[in-house]
């Protein structure tokens, strides 16, 4: 069966909640990176000692999750509902095909490697 890579950028404070939701539906691993970026939120302004300055890149957390194709929709839905705050800057989710996967310890491949 095919394997999918799900990349999600979410608000950092939602990370724990999303992790819990994903493990409860059977996701067994994920990669997490602290990133900065901008989307339609496109930064904001703050004031330091009376002078305004732009925060062009907003801190986000990037999740990379590899699952079997049968689970991909459920993972996307779970992230989407858990990370949602209804405010601008909630993030994005992308789904990509994975050409191959391997577990380093055993040499198992693709679906078995996950």
């Amino acid at each position: 069966m095919q394997v999918k890579l799900i990349i999600a950028a979410i608000k950092p404070f939602k990370l724990e909640e999303v992790r819990e939701a994903l493990t409860s539906i059977g996701v067994r691993g994920m990669m997490v990176t602290e990133i900065k970026g901008f989307g339609s939120q496109s930064g904001h302004t703050e004031i330091y000692r009376g002078a305004e300055y732009a925060v062009n890149f907003v801190p986000k957390v990037k999740l990379e999750i590899v699952v079997g194709a049968d689970m991909a929709d459920q993972v996307v839905q779970t992230i989407a509902t858990t990370a949602k705050t209804d405010k601008i800057g909630d993030g994005k989710i992308f789904v990509l095909d994975v050409e191959s996967a391997m577990r380093v310890r055993t040499g198992e491949t693709n679906q078995d490697a996950i």
């Binding site: 703050e46 004031i47 330091y48 000692r49 009376g50 002078a51 305004e52 300055y53």
Partner: protein, 444 residues
């Protein structure tokens, strides 16, 4: 002989329970002159080491408000300036500031110039002390030196992150040996400003505005840090550690009790001790007023409170009460300090409008609030005249600003005062010192 020296004190201690029991007896005798002399000296020593600790306060405040690439340099400047102030106040400053009535030019220039400070001899007796009605010369020198060093500390923060080490230290020498002591002699040395009736209890003008004027002249000669002002816009440069900046502010706040309380210059009577107590309480109240006003004002103006402004607000409150910490009530002291907080919140962006880059807000805090504090004396002290206060502010201001400007321009001409562009961008720590404050967090 050593034991004999302590006998009068021993006798006093022994007499204390007797005084306590004899409730119906006659009013206790006045404090003996020896004891007054001892208590006055003690006030100077305690006040002096509290003001000394302000050097740590300035160092931490500045270390917190500069970027991490300039922290080692800022700390190096603070160590250097304090130590140089110590040496040059001894060599020249002390006797230039206190002519003790011996003027070369009456009221303007001490005749004790150039002359080093000399302390009383080891184990001096009551009959041979310099001033039996006052305090030990050692305690007086120690206490006054700390004010001189505080003045120099004010300058270093404003000029941070771009000034070369050695020209800065040379300026410190001129400031602490000549500029500060000379103008201080006009007031505290019994000179012409004192004769005019100018009132400045602990130095809103004599100390704080002087540091502020010298910093202003230096900031104008130096120019702003790279990237601070571009295309008519102000680009804030964040401090590296607000925990250190807050610690520094609280240390300064603590030191100020010695600064203002010690300036009562006497602790040998009930009246004096009551006054010192009033001063402590008023000084504290003014700092609180400045902090809270800055907090509320930044919330209202900018929608979020700005901690760096709250820190500056507390310090501005302290500067504001320094010219008259004794006569106000607690309420009035809080308000005087609170107005200092207003001055800082509007003073910081005002300097930015003129493209004068003051890294830590030293000019709004020490100069602007110093002027306000000097004027505020007339609110509660009936002996003060607003005209005399204004004239004195102007005289001290013109003298210090012009003489500082000349020194800065001479230094600029001889050796340059500013680091080159690459050094500034790379950071003074690695470029000038080859040493970082936080090497384990460095990107290199």
């Amino acid at each position: 002989m050593k034991i004999l020296k302590y006998l009068p004190i021993a006798a006093l201690v022994a007499a204390v329970p007797t005084l306590g029991l004899a409730q119906d007896a006659e009013v206790p005798a006045a404090v003996p002159t020896d004891v007054v002399w001892i208590l006055n000296s003690l006030l100077f020593l305690i006040g002096g080491f509290l003001v000394f600790f302000m050097a740590a306060g300035f160092a931490m405040l500045e270390a917190g408000l500069v970027r991490s690439k300039n922290v080692t340099m800022q700390l190096t400047k603070n160590m250097g300036l304090f130590s140089l102030a110590t040496i040059f106040y001894y060599l020249i400053g002390y006797n230039l500031m206190y002519p003790l009535g011996d003027w070369a030019i009456e009221g303007y220039f001490s005749a004790l110039f150039p002359a080093v400070a000399v302390l009383e001899s080891v184990g001096v007796g009551a009959d041979a002390v310099d001033d039996y009605a006052y305090a030990s010369t050692g305690s007086d020198f120690f206490f006054q030196l700390m004010f001189c060093a505080a003045t120099a500390s004010i300058v270093s923060g404003a000029l941070a992150e771009r000034i070369k080490l050695w020209p800065f230290l040379i300026f410190t020498i001129v400031l602490t040996s000549i500029i500060y002591p000379l103008q201080a002699s006009w007031k505290w040395g019994g000179g012409f400003l004192d004769g005019m009736g100018f009132l400045d209890f602990a130095g809103s003008t004599v100390v704080h505005s002087v540091g502020g004027w010298a910093a202003l002249a230096g900031a104008i000669v130096l120019g702003p840090r790279i990237g601070k002002y571009k295309d008519g816009k102000v680009y804030p440069i964040m401090g590296s550690n607000l925990a250190l900046a807050t610690l520094g502010t609280f240390i300064l706040w603590l030191g100020w009790f010695g600064f203002n309380g010690g300036s009562q210059l006497a602790m040998g009577s009930i009246g004096d001790v009551a006054d010192v107590s009033r001063i402590f309480a008023n000084t504290n109240a003014a700092a609180a007023g400045g902090a809270i006003v800055a907090m509320i004002l930044t919330q209202v103006l900018y929608k979020k409170p700005d901690l760096t402004m709250v820190l500056n607000g507390a310090l501005a409150g302290l500067v504001s009460i320094t010219a008259e910490p004794l006569t106000p009530s607690l309420g009035v002291a809080t308000i005087i300090g609170g107005i200092g907080g207003v001055i800082v919140v509007f003073g910081v962006p005002l300097l930015d409008k003129f493209k004068i880059d003051d890294v830590v807000g030293a000019i709004p805090v020490h100069l602007f609030a110093g002027i306000w504090g000097t004027l505020a004396v007339v609110i509660t002290n009936g002996d003060a005249s607003i005209g005399t206060q204004i004239i004195s502010i102007v005289i001290v201001g013109v003298f210090v600003f012009v003489s500082s400007l000349v020194v800065w321009l001479i230094l600029k001409g001889i050796m340059g005062v500013r680091v080159d562009e690459e050094t500034e961008i790379k950071g003074l720590d690695m470029s000038e010192l080859g040493m970082e404050a936080y090497p384990e967090f460095s990107k290199g």
